[in-house]
Protein backbone atom coordinates (compact mmCIF):
# COMPACT_ATOMS: atom_id res chain seq x y z
CA UNK A 1 0.00 0.00 0.00
CA UNK A 2 1.32 3.41 -0.96
CA UNK A 3 1.91 5.89 1.81
CA UNK A 4 0.43 9.14 0.50
CA UNK A 5 0.99 12.46 2.21
CA UNK A 6 -0.80 15.57 1.01
CA UNK A 7 -0.16 19.15 2.11
CA UNK A 8 0.85 18.03 5.58
CA UNK A 9 1.74 20.44 8.39
CA UNK A 10 3.17 19.15 11.63
CA UNK A 11 3.73 20.88 14.96
CA UNK A 12 6.00 20.35 17.91
CA UNK A 13 5.01 21.79 21.26
CA UNK A 14 2.32 23.94 19.66
CA UNK A 15 4.64 25.39 16.99
CA UNK A 16 4.28 24.39 13.37
CA UNK A 17 7.69 23.21 12.18
CA UNK A 18 6.95 21.85 8.70
CA UNK A 19 4.17 22.80 6.31
CA UNK A 20 3.00 22.02 2.83
CA UNK A 21 4.63 18.59 2.67
CA UNK A 22 3.45 16.22 -0.05
CA UNK A 23 5.05 12.94 -1.04
CA UNK A 24 4.29 9.35 -1.97
CA UNK A 25 6.17 6.28 -0.88
CA UNK A 26 5.25 3.33 -3.09
CA UNK A 27 5.74 -0.32 -2.06
CA UNK A 28 9.31 -1.43 -2.59
CA UNK A 29 10.74 2.07 -2.28
CA UNK A 30 12.23 4.16 0.48
CA UNK A 31 12.32 7.88 1.14
CA UNK A 32 15.26 9.49 2.90
CA UNK A 33 14.51 12.61 4.97
CA UNK A 34 17.31 15.12 5.25
CA UNK A 35 17.50 18.41 7.05
CA UNK A 36 19.32 20.26 9.80
CA UNK A 37 18.64 19.55 13.50
CA UNK A 38 15.31 20.83 14.69
CA UNK A 39 13.77 20.96 11.24
CA UNK A 40 11.09 18.46 12.30
CA UNK A 41 12.22 15.05 11.05
CA UNK A 42 11.25 13.30 14.27
CA UNK A 43 8.02 15.27 14.49
CA UNK A 44 7.12 14.24 10.95
CA UNK A 45 7.84 10.56 11.65
CA UNK A 46 5.85 10.68 14.90
CA UNK A 47 2.93 12.22 13.03
CA UNK A 48 3.11 9.53 10.35
CA UNK A 49 3.21 6.90 13.10
CA UNK A 50 0.00 8.33 14.58
CA UNK A 51 1.58 9.35 17.88
CA UNK A 52 0.46 12.92 17.35
CA UNK A 53 -2.19 14.47 15.11
CA UNK A 54 -1.19 16.61 12.11
CA UNK A 55 -1.98 20.33 12.18
CA UNK A 56 -3.47 20.06 8.72
CA UNK A 57 -3.22 17.92 5.62
CA UNK A 58 -3.82 14.25 4.98
CA UNK A 59 -1.96 11.01 5.54
CA UNK A 60 -3.25 7.99 3.65
CA UNK A 61 -2.14 4.42 3.87
CA UNK A 62 -0.39 4.67 7.24
CA UNK A 63 -2.64 3.60 10.11
CA UNK A 64 -2.18 -0.06 10.88
CA UNK A 65 0.55 -0.62 8.33
CA UNK A 66 3.38 1.25 9.99
CA UNK A 67 6.07 0.31 12.47
CA UNK A 68 7.93 3.13 14.15
CA UNK A 69 11.50 3.03 15.45
CA UNK A 70 12.42 6.00 17.59
CA UNK A 71 15.76 7.16 18.98
CA UNK A 72 15.27 4.87 21.96
CA UNK A 73 14.96 1.17 21.34
CA UNK A 74 12.51 0.26 24.09
CA UNK A 75 14.73 -2.55 25.32
CA UNK A 76 14.28 -4.04 28.76
CA UNK A 77 17.58 -4.73 30.50
CA UNK A 78 16.24 -7.76 32.33
CA UNK A 79 15.05 -9.62 29.21
CA UNK A 80 17.27 -11.69 26.95
CA UNK A 81 17.64 -10.86 23.27
CA UNK A 82 15.44 -13.80 22.38
CA UNK A 83 12.72 -12.88 24.87
CA UNK A 84 12.64 -9.27 23.66
CA UNK A 85 12.09 -10.27 20.06
CA UNK A 86 9.58 -12.96 21.03
CA UNK A 87 7.62 -10.37 23.04
CA UNK A 88 7.35 -7.91 20.16
CA UNK A 89 6.50 -10.67 17.71
CA UNK A 90 3.68 -11.77 20.00
CA UNK A 91 2.35 -8.23 20.41
CA UNK A 92 2.18 -7.96 16.62
CA UNK A 93 0.77 -11.47 16.25
CA UNK A 94 3.78 -12.70 14.26
CA UNK A 95 6.36 -15.47 14.51
CA UNK A 96 10.05 -14.72 14.97
CA UNK A 97 11.80 -15.62 11.69
CA UNK A 98 14.66 -18.00 12.49
CA UNK A 99 17.16 -16.11 10.36
CA UNK A 100 16.56 -12.73 12.00
CA UNK A 101 19.43 -13.33 14.44
CA UNK A 102 21.89 -13.79 11.60
CA UNK A 103 20.55 -10.80 9.71
CA UNK A 104 21.58 -8.58 12.62
CA UNK A 105 24.53 -10.63 13.81
CA UNK A 106 22.80 -11.42 17.10
CA UNK A 107 23.29 -15.20 16.97
CA UNK A 108 25.90 -15.29 19.73
CA UNK A 109 23.92 -12.89 21.92
CA UNK A 110 20.59 -14.72 21.86
CA UNK A 111 20.61 -15.69 25.51
CA UNK A 112 22.37 -12.62 26.88
CA UNK A 113 20.44 -10.13 29.00
CA UNK A 114 19.90 -6.94 27.04
CA UNK A 115 21.32 -4.99 29.97
CA UNK A 116 24.74 -6.52 29.32
CA UNK A 117 24.86 -5.49 25.67
CA UNK A 118 26.84 -2.55 24.33
CA UNK A 119 24.93 0.38 22.90
CA UNK A 120 25.65 -0.74 19.35
CA UNK A 121 24.42 -4.24 20.12
CA UNK A 122 21.30 -2.81 21.76
CA UNK A 123 20.67 -0.77 18.66
CA UNK A 124 20.98 -3.90 16.52
CA UNK A 125 18.42 -5.59 18.78
CA UNK A 126 16.16 -2.54 18.48
CA UNK A 127 16.40 -2.71 14.70
CA UNK A 128 15.89 -6.48 14.65
CA UNK A 129 12.50 -5.75 16.22
CA UNK A 130 11.50 -4.27 12.86
CA UNK A 131 12.11 -7.67 11.30
CA UNK A 132 9.62 -9.46 13.55
CA UNK A 133 6.67 -7.05 13.51
CA UNK A 134 5.61 -7.81 9.94
CA UNK A 135 4.64 -4.27 9.03
CA UNK A 136 4.80 -2.94 5.46
CA UNK A 137 5.87 0.64 6.16
CA UNK A 138 8.82 1.34 8.42
CA UNK A 139 9.33 4.78 9.93
CA UNK A 140 12.94 5.01 11.02
CA UNK A 141 14.37 7.84 13.06
CA UNK A 142 18.19 7.89 12.80
CA UNK A 143 18.37 4.08 12.69
CA UNK A 144 22.17 3.97 12.43
CA UNK A 145 23.05 5.87 15.61
CA UNK A 146 25.85 4.10 17.51
CA UNK A 147 26.25 1.45 14.79
CA UNK A 148 29.68 0.69 13.33
CA UNK A 149 30.26 0.55 9.60
CA UNK A 150 29.75 -3.19 9.42
CA UNK A 151 26.44 -3.06 11.28
CA UNK A 152 25.26 -0.21 9.07
CA UNK A 153 25.90 -2.46 6.08
CA UNK A 154 24.01 -5.31 7.77
CA UNK A 155 21.08 -3.01 8.35
CA UNK A 156 21.18 -1.65 4.79
CA UNK A 157 21.18 -5.25 3.50
CA UNK A 158 18.21 -6.05 5.72
CA UNK A 159 16.30 -3.04 4.40
CA UNK A 160 17.15 -3.73 0.77
CA UNK A 161 16.71 -7.49 0.63
CA UNK A 162 14.27 -8.42 3.33
CA UNK A 163 12.06 -5.37 3.47
CA UNK A 164 12.04 -3.27 0.30
CA UNK A 165 12.71 -6.36 -1.81
CA UNK A 166 9.57 -7.97 -0.34
CA UNK A 167 7.37 -5.05 -1.26
CA UNK A 168 7.74 -3.10 1.95
CA UNK A 169 8.52 0.58 2.10
CA UNK A 170 10.33 2.91 4.47
CA UNK A 171 10.65 6.54 5.47
CA UNK A 172 14.10 7.09 6.95
CA UNK A 173 15.52 10.14 8.68
CA UNK A 174 19.28 9.79 8.50
CA UNK A 175 22.45 11.79 7.97
CA UNK A 176 24.62 9.00 6.67
CA UNK A 177 24.66 7.20 3.36
CA UNK A 178 22.90 3.85 3.67
CA UNK A 179 23.71 2.86 0.09
CA UNK A 180 20.04 2.53 -0.75
CA UNK A 181 18.77 3.54 -4.14
CA UNK A 182 16.23 5.92 -2.69
CA UNK A 183 15.12 9.50 -3.36
CA UNK A 184 16.13 12.12 -0.82
CA UNK A 185 13.60 14.63 0.47
CA UNK A 186 15.29 17.81 1.65
CA UNK A 187 13.05 19.22 4.39
CA UNK A 188 14.54 22.72 4.65
CA UNK A 189 12.28 24.28 1.95
CA UNK A 190 9.22 23.10 3.89
CA UNK A 191 10.21 24.73 7.16
CA UNK A 192 7.33 26.76 8.53
CA UNK A 193 7.76 30.53 8.52
CA UNK A 194 8.86 31.85 11.89
CA UNK A 195 5.88 32.95 13.92
CA UNK A 196 3.43 30.69 12.17
CA UNK A 197 1.53 29.24 15.06
CA UNK A 198 -0.21 25.91 15.11
CA UNK A 199 -3.10 24.67 17.15
CA UNK A 200 -4.30 26.49 20.19
CA UNK A 201 -1.52 29.08 20.32
CA UNK A 202 -3.04 30.92 17.41
CA UNK A 203 -5.39 32.99 19.50
CA UNK A 204 -2.59 34.46 21.56
CA UNK A 205 -0.47 35.77 18.71
Amino acid sequence: MTLRVRDLSVARGGWTVLEGLSFDVAPGTALILRGPNGIGKTTLLRTLAGLQPPVSGEIEGAGDDVAYASHSDGIKDALTVEESLAFWARVYGQDVPADIYDAFDLGDLRHRMAGTLSSGQKRRLGLARLGVVGRRILLLDEPTISLDRQSVNLFADFLRDRHLGQGGSAVIATHIELGLDAPVLELAPFAAQAGAAGGSDEAFL
Binding site: S70, S72, F87, V91, R129
Partner: protein
Protein backbone atom coordinates in the same frame (compact mmCIF):
# COMPACT_ATOMS: atom_id res chain seq x y z
CA UNK B 1 -2.23 -8.48 26.06
CA UNK B 2 -1.19 -11.73 27.66
CA UNK B 3 2.26 -11.20 26.15
CA UNK B 4 2.49 -7.83 27.88
CA UNK B 5 1.32 -9.21 31.23
CA UNK B 6 3.81 -12.08 30.95
CA UNK B 7 6.62 -9.68 30.13
CA UNK B 8 5.80 -7.36 33.03
CA UNK B 9 5.61 -10.24 35.49
CA UNK B 10 8.92 -11.60 34.25
CA UNK B 11 10.48 -8.16 34.63
CA UNK B 12 9.01 -7.80 38.12
CA UNK B 13 10.55 -11.08 39.18
CA UNK B 14 13.93 -10.48 37.56
CA UNK B 15 14.43 -6.82 38.30
CA UNK B 16 13.31 -7.23 41.89
CA UNK B 17 11.25 -4.76 43.85
CA UNK B 18 8.12 -6.13 42.26
CA UNK B 19 6.67 -8.62 44.67
CA UNK B 20 8.77 -8.00 47.76
CA UNK B 21 8.75 -4.26 48.22
CA UNK B 22 5.05 -3.58 48.68
CA UNK B 23 4.62 -6.64 50.82
CA UNK B 24 7.51 -5.72 53.12
CA UNK B 25 6.07 -2.23 53.47
CA UNK B 26 2.66 -3.70 54.36
CA UNK B 27 4.30 -5.89 56.97
CA UNK B 28 6.25 -3.02 58.54
CA UNK B 29 3.24 -0.71 58.79
CA UNK B 30 1.19 -3.43 60.46
CA UNK B 31 4.01 -4.27 62.86
CA UNK B 32 4.46 -0.61 63.76
CA UNK B 33 0.82 -0.04 64.70
CA UNK B 34 0.87 -1.95 68.03
CA UNK B 35 3.98 0.00 68.98
CA UNK B 36 2.12 3.22 68.30
CA UNK B 37 -1.24 2.51 69.92
CA UNK B 38 -0.12 0.13 72.65
CA UNK B 39 -0.56 -3.61 73.05
CA UNK B 40 -4.10 -3.66 74.45
CA UNK B 41 -5.72 -6.55 72.63
CA UNK B 42 -9.28 -5.23 72.59
CA UNK B 43 -8.27 -1.82 71.32
CA UNK B 44 -6.25 -3.42 68.53
CA UNK B 45 -9.12 -5.70 67.60
CA UNK B 46 -11.35 -2.67 67.16
CA UNK B 47 -9.03 -0.83 64.79
CA UNK B 48 -7.58 -3.88 62.99
CA UNK B 49 -9.81 -3.88 59.87
CA UNK B 50 -9.25 -0.17 59.27
CA UNK B 51 -5.48 -0.38 59.81
CA UNK B 52 -5.16 -3.39 57.53
CA UNK B 53 -7.01 -1.61 54.78
CA UNK B 54 -5.11 1.67 55.13
CA UNK B 55 -1.83 -0.24 55.05
CA UNK B 56 -2.97 -2.14 51.95
CA UNK B 57 -3.78 1.18 50.29
CA UNK B 58 -0.38 2.64 51.07
CA UNK B 59 1.57 -0.38 49.97
CA UNK B 60 -0.37 -0.56 46.67
CA UNK B 61 0.49 3.10 46.20
CA UNK B 62 4.20 2.40 46.58
CA UNK B 63 4.68 0.68 43.24
CA UNK B 64 2.24 2.73 41.17
CA UNK B 65 4.73 5.19 39.71
CA UNK B 66 6.63 2.32 38.12
CA UNK B 67 3.64 1.16 36.07
CA UNK B 68 4.32 3.40 33.09
CA UNK B 69 7.44 5.35 34.06
CA UNK B 70 9.95 2.61 33.21
CA UNK B 71 8.35 1.94 29.84
CA UNK B 72 8.23 5.65 29.15
CA UNK B 73 11.90 6.18 29.91
CA UNK B 74 13.26 3.44 27.68
CA UNK B 75 10.87 4.23 24.84
CA UNK B 76 8.85 1.03 24.90
CA UNK B 77 5.67 2.93 25.72
CA UNK B 78 5.92 4.79 22.41
CA UNK B 79 6.50 1.52 20.62
CA UNK B 80 3.55 -0.07 22.41
CA UNK B 81 1.40 2.92 21.43
CA UNK B 82 2.19 2.29 17.76
CA UNK B 83 1.69 -1.47 18.11
CA UNK B 84 -1.59 -3.13 17.10
CA UNK B 85 -2.47 -3.47 20.80
CA UNK B 86 -4.84 -0.60 21.66
CA UNK B 87 -3.74 1.60 24.56
CA UNK B 88 -6.88 0.56 26.44
CA UNK B 89 -5.60 -3.02 26.46
CA UNK B 90 -2.12 -1.83 27.39
CA UNK B 91 -3.60 -0.01 30.40
CA UNK B 92 -5.68 -3.01 31.43
CA UNK B 93 -2.68 -5.32 31.06
CA UNK B 94 -0.60 -2.96 33.19
CA UNK B 95 -3.31 -2.88 35.86
CA UNK B 96 -3.54 -6.68 35.87
CA UNK B 97 0.20 -7.12 36.28
CA UNK B 98 0.26 -4.48 39.01
CA UNK B 99 -2.50 -6.33 40.81
CA UNK B 100 -0.68 -9.66 40.53
CA UNK B 101 2.57 -8.18 41.85
CA UNK B 102 1.14 -5.76 44.44
CA UNK B 103 -2.50 -6.66 45.15
CA UNK B 104 -2.51 -10.43 45.25
CA UNK B 105 0.36 -10.67 47.81
CA UNK B 106 -1.68 -8.38 50.09
CA UNK B 107 -4.69 -10.66 49.85
CA UNK B 108 -2.53 -13.61 50.81
CA UNK B 109 -0.57 -11.85 53.56
CA UNK B 110 -3.56 -9.96 54.98
CA UNK B 111 -4.84 -12.74 57.24
CA UNK B 112 -1.37 -13.51 58.61
CA UNK B 113 -0.89 -9.88 59.54
CA UNK B 114 -4.44 -9.67 60.89
CA UNK B 115 -3.24 -12.10 63.52
CA UNK B 116 -0.64 -9.53 64.65
CA UNK B 117 -3.44 -7.01 65.19
CA UNK B 118 -5.63 -9.49 67.04
CA UNK B 119 -8.28 -9.37 64.34
CA UNK B 120 -11.59 -10.92 65.40
CA UNK B 121 -11.71 -14.59 64.26
CA UNK B 122 -15.00 -14.11 62.44
CA UNK B 123 -13.47 -11.29 60.41
CA UNK B 124 -10.80 -13.35 58.61
CA UNK B 125 -12.88 -14.68 55.71
CA UNK B 126 -14.42 -11.26 55.21
CA UNK B 127 -11.03 -9.54 55.29
CA UNK B 128 -9.73 -11.90 52.59
CA UNK B 129 -12.87 -11.47 50.53
CA UNK B 130 -12.87 -7.68 50.84
CA UNK B 131 -9.19 -7.47 49.88
CA UNK B 132 -9.77 -9.83 46.96
CA UNK B 133 -12.65 -7.73 45.66
CA UNK B 134 -11.25 -4.33 46.57
CA UNK B 135 -7.57 -4.43 45.57
CA UNK B 136 -8.21 -4.66 41.80
CA UNK B 137 -9.83 -1.23 42.08
CA UNK B 138 -6.63 0.08 43.70
CA UNK B 139 -4.56 -1.16 40.76
CA UNK B 140 -6.98 0.17 38.14
CA UNK B 141 -7.32 3.63 39.70
CA UNK B 142 -3.57 3.67 40.20
CA UNK B 143 -2.96 2.84 36.55
CA UNK B 144 -5.03 5.86 35.60
CA UNK B 145 -3.02 8.03 38.00
CA UNK B 146 0.24 6.65 36.63
CA UNK B 147 -0.91 7.42 33.09
CA UNK B 148 -1.72 10.99 34.13
CA UNK B 149 1.70 11.61 35.63
CA UNK B 150 3.85 9.67 33.16
CA UNK B 151 6.72 11.76 31.89
CA UNK B 152 6.60 14.18 34.80
CA UNK B 153 9.72 14.60 36.86
CA UNK B 154 8.98 13.69 40.46
CA UNK B 155 5.53 12.60 39.41
CA UNK B 156 5.37 10.11 42.28
CA UNK B 157 4.22 12.55 44.92
CA UNK B 158 1.68 14.14 42.61
CA UNK B 159 0.48 10.66 41.79
CA UNK B 160 -0.16 9.90 45.47
CA UNK B 161 -2.08 13.15 45.91
CA UNK B 162 -4.21 12.40 42.87
CA UNK B 163 -4.87 8.77 43.58
CA UNK B 164 -5.42 8.59 47.35
CA UNK B 165 -8.70 10.57 47.34
CA UNK B 166 -9.98 8.24 44.63
CA UNK B 167 -9.23 5.30 46.90
CA UNK B 168 -11.64 6.55 49.59
CA UNK B 169 -14.75 4.58 48.52
CA UNK B 170 -12.78 1.33 48.31
CA UNK B 171 -11.25 1.99 51.73
CA UNK B 172 -14.59 2.76 53.37
CA UNK B 173 -16.46 -0.22 52.01
CA UNK B 174 -13.52 -2.62 52.27
CA UNK B 175 -12.85 -1.86 55.93
CA UNK B 176 -16.59 -1.89 56.64
CA UNK B 177 -16.95 -5.41 55.23
CA UNK B 178 -14.13 -6.68 57.47
CA UNK B 179 -15.45 -4.81 60.55
CA UNK B 180 -19.04 -5.95 60.19
CA UNK B 181 -17.89 -9.48 59.42
CA UNK B 182 -15.90 -9.47 62.66
CA UNK B 183 -18.90 -8.30 64.67
CA UNK B 184 -21.23 -10.79 63.05
CA UNK B 185 -23.37 -8.14 61.34
CA UNK B 186 -24.77 -8.33 57.83
CA UNK B 187 -22.04 -7.50 55.28
CA UNK B 188 -24.07 -7.64 52.11
CA UNK B 189 -24.48 -3.88 51.73
CA UNK B 190 -20.83 -2.77 51.88
CA UNK B 191 -19.74 -5.90 50.03
CA UNK B 192 -21.98 -5.11 47.08
CA UNK B 193 -20.88 -1.48 47.07
CA UNK B 194 -17.22 -2.55 47.19
CA UNK B 195 -17.78 -4.87 44.24
CA UNK B 196 -19.67 -2.08 42.48
CA UNK B 197 -16.73 0.30 42.85
CA UNK B 198 -14.36 -2.31 41.44
CA UNK B 199 -16.67 -3.09 38.53
CA UNK B 200 -16.97 0.60 37.79
CA UNK B 201 -13.20 1.04 37.69
CA UNK B 202 -12.81 -2.02 35.44
CA UNK B 203 -15.29 -0.48 33.03
CA UNK B 204 -13.96 3.08 33.05
CA UNK B 205 -10.33 3.28 34.09
CA UNK B 206 -8.63 1.53 31.12
CA UNK B 207 -10.35 3.96 28.76
CA UNK B 208 -9.53 7.00 30.88
CA UNK B 209 -5.90 5.85 31.22
CA UNK B 210 -5.60 5.29 27.46
CA UNK B 211 -6.99 8.74 26.78
CA UNK B 212 -4.50 10.55 29.02
CA UNK B 213 -1.65 8.37 27.74
CA UNK B 214 -2.39 9.49 24.20
CA UNK B 215 -2.17 13.10 25.30
CA UNK B 216 0.98 12.52 27.34
CA UNK B 217 2.77 10.78 24.46
CA UNK B 218 2.29 13.64 22.02
Amino acid sequence: MIALIARDLRLAIRAGGGFGLGLAFFLIVIVLVPFGVGPEALQLREIAPGILWVAALLSALLSLDRIFALDYEDGSLQLLATAPLPLESVSLAKAVSHWITAGLPLVIAGPALGFLLNLAPAAYPWLILSLLIGTPALSLIGTFGAALTVGLRRGGLLLSLLVLPLYVPTLIFGAEVARRGGEGLAVQGPLLLLAGVTMGTVALMPFAAAMVLKVNLR
